[in-house]
């Protein structure tokens, strides 16, 4: 459904993976970090929040990277400024403990982070106008785990906007509400959303930014950041190296198996129009779909798979389907490609059908092996295909 009932809001995304103290220190090399940062920007994440430890490794910082340095003291702020960093974030407690009048430059921006685990915490936020003159113009609301009174966020953002403050929302994902809260924050006028790739964090879990990005792209009511989501698999590999965590197989947007399908109903729908059972094409996020044959397969799935493998068993798909189901139940899982080819090969021997690789019944398109009007040993092509992937 197309949008239009919600006002479009420009929105930026900030990734805070590299400011987490749990990052794998042994993998913190400049090349890895730069690659991760470039890929984050490549998919459409504008800002990258880092710790001082990461800054020391990244320095000298390439000028095309928009970095947000998390600081815990005045000394760290000064060290960041020496490295050319102009964008900082700290908790409001740290800010209130700093003496700031003598060293902030006009270009420096400070985001103040408030912990908002319950909506009642919003009422305890007091913003000082003088802070704006010292470079503070953005506040981050970190937490937002109580979903029920989320509409209060609308009122809060409007009120602080009147005083010249912009809001960054950083929902925690304790109750799987972070992406929803992020979208709500965008609708209510937050200028940015903070999270991490894959929702990762060692102390808290955050909104998975790949989910937020894809939702913003798909749902049509939002202004999307420019980026290429097809870079997500490469970003996923770098993430696994940095964090030591594997991406779950069914993880939305980036899981390895999210475009695998088996059920007959899905196979039928996808063969007619993939949009019937896919919210977006796999290629959008750098993936391909994969048809698995197993217990839940139907005849159309078998035909599609045989077509994909370049195998023709004239008039025997139903028998092959029964064999697939039988073997799948016996093995208690779906079948692998070589298992399917083996079943098809054995069926050829038993029922004597003409089996060739390729769609042309007059001979194999790849190697020209030809039956010349008699029953052929189609196993030539099956064997070659299984061993080497081609004739």
């Amino acid at each position: 459904m197309k949008g239009g009932y919600l006002q479009k809001q420009p929105v930026h995304l900030t990734d805070r993976t590299l400011s987490d103290p749990g990052i794998m220190k042994e993998n913190l090399q400049r090349e890895n970090l730069l690659h991760f940062c470039m890929l984050l920007q490549g998919v459409g994440i504008q800002k990258i929040e880092i710790s001082l430890e990461v800054l020391d490794i990244l320095a000298p910082v390439p000028c095309n990277l928009l970095l947000l340095l998390r600081v815990n003291s005045k000394e760290e702020l000064l060290r960041g400024m020496e490295q050319g960093i102009l964008d900082f974030i700290c908790t409001v407690e740290v800010w209130e403990g700093m003496e700031t009048d003598d060293y902030l430059f006009p270009d420096v921006q400070m985001t103040l982070e408030y912990s908002v685990r319950r909506w009642s915490d919003l009422t305890s936020i007091s913003l000082c106008k003088e802070w704006q003159q010292q470079g503070c113009r953005c506040i981050r609301l970190a937490g937002l785990i109580d979903p029920v009174d989320i509409d209060i966020l609308d009122l809060f953002i409007s009120m602080v906007a009147e005083d010249g403050w912009s809001v960054d929302a950083c929902p925690y994902n304790n109750t799987s509400q972070a992406v929803s809260a992020a979208l709500d924050a965008v609708i209510y006028g937050a200028c940015s959303i903070s999270g991490t790739f894959c929702g990762w964090g060692t102390r808290e879990h955050f909104a998975p930014l790949e989910e937020v990005l894809t939702a913003l792209y798909l749902l049509d009511e939002f202004t999307i950041p420019a980026g290429d989501l097809a870079l997500l698999p490469r970003l996923g590999s770098e993430y696994e190296k940095l964090t030591g965590c594997a991406i779950p197989l069914q993880k939305p947007v980036i899981g390895e198996r999210i475009f695998w399908y088996e059920s007959g109903i899905h196979a039928d729908g996808i063969s007619k129009d993939p949009a019937t059972y896919e919210p977006f094409p796999p290629a959008l996020v750098g993936k391909t779909r994969r048809l698995v044959l197993g217990k839940h397969s139907g005849i159309r799935a078998v035909r599609e798979k045989l077509k994909e493998l370049g195998v023709l068993i004239a008039g025997a798909e139903e028998q092959l389907l029964q064999q697939v189901k039988h073997h799948s139940m016996k093995l208690q899982r779906g079948l692998y490609t070589d298992e399917i080819l083996e079943i098809a090969g054995k069926m050829h021997q038993r029922i004597g059908n003409h089996v060739v690789a390729g769609r042309d019944e007059n001979g194999c398109k790849d190697c020209g092996y030809h039956s010349a009007g008699r029953r052929t040993n189609g196993r030539h092509c099956l064997d070659y295909k299984r061993k080497s992937g081609s004739c």
């Binding site: 989910e211 069914q250 217990k295």
Partner: protein, 254 residues
């Protein structure tokens, strides 16, 4: 989930564990697939569980007949509702859908079945057509209507608007079925309950097509934040069941 196979013995064991969790209903499978699938649904239906046992059906008389033969408590009939599904998948039109729906619901009703229907791909369907389909099913005797976000693109703002509109017209019990393609299945299910839905489809570990469905454990945690939602399922027991199912999931290496 593609590649994952549960044996009949495992399915029966899972059914007993779900019953011990005090879930309201188990959708045990698709009897129209025949073979082991049909046998497993019949076995689960014969267990005498406290919870209801239902079977999933396409809008085909033969599918429903297979389910009735299994002795299930409820027959669920899935009705494609988006023009994308009706035209591209079924290669039919809306009139055909309504007529076929009526035929199937009355067939099941006449044979004593408790019927629920699912509005497949509802989140991409014309809301007015959803109301027509729901009303037609209820007139024929269906007892509950499921709103299926088949490709996982719903979000809170649509739910709080569309679910009450549907409820106001149908005035029946509503059920929500969410997919997790954008990480929103638990949140959407939660907000659907806040909007008046009383039945939530969920799975253990969020297992399901593509990025899965609403994860039961996560749903319990989300509902605990809300004092006016009562979901009396012990989360620790859900995690035990997740452990059991992970064994089956690990058998397919891909």
């Amino acid at each position: 989930m593609a590649g994952i196979v549960l044996t009949t013995k495992e399915k029966v064991e899972v059914a007993k564990m779900l019953d011990a969790l005090r879930v309201y209903q188990i959708e045990a499978g698709i009897p129209a697939m025949g073979g082991e699938e049909k046998k497993s649904v019949a076995k689960i239906a014969a267990l005498g569980l406290r919870c209801k046992v239902s079977a999933w059906n396409r809008m085909h008389i033969q599918d429903i007949e297979h389910s009735l033969q299994c002795g299930v408590d409820m027959v669920h009939i899935s009705v494609p509702t988006s023009d994308l599904h009706i035209q591209n998948k079924l290669q039919k039109d809306r009139v055909w859908v309504i007529n076929q729906l009526r035929r199937c619901v009355s067939y099941a009703q006449e044979r004593g079945a408790y019927v629920t229907i699912g509005l497949e791909d509802a989140s991409r369907a014309d809301p007015a057509f959803l109301r027509v389909v729901g009303a037609a099913a209820l007139l024929e005797g269906a007892k509950r209507v499921r709103y299926a976000d088949t490709v996982g693109i719903l979000h809170r703002h649509r739910i709080v608007r569309e679910i009450p509109q549907l409820h106001a017209v149908l005035k029946s019990d509503l059920e929500i079925h969410c997919h997790n393609d954008l990480g929103l299945a638990v949140s959407n299910s939660f907000w659907a309950v806040k909007a008046g839905v009383r039945y939530v489809d969920s799975t253990i570990g969020g297992m399901g097509e593509r990025a899965g469905n609403c994860d039961l454990y996560q749903m319990i945690l989300a509902c605990r934040e809300c004092p006016d939602i009562w979901l009396p399922i012990e989360p620790g027991m859900v995690l035990e069941l997740e452990q059991y199912l992970r064994k089956a999931a690990r058998r397919y290496k891909g």
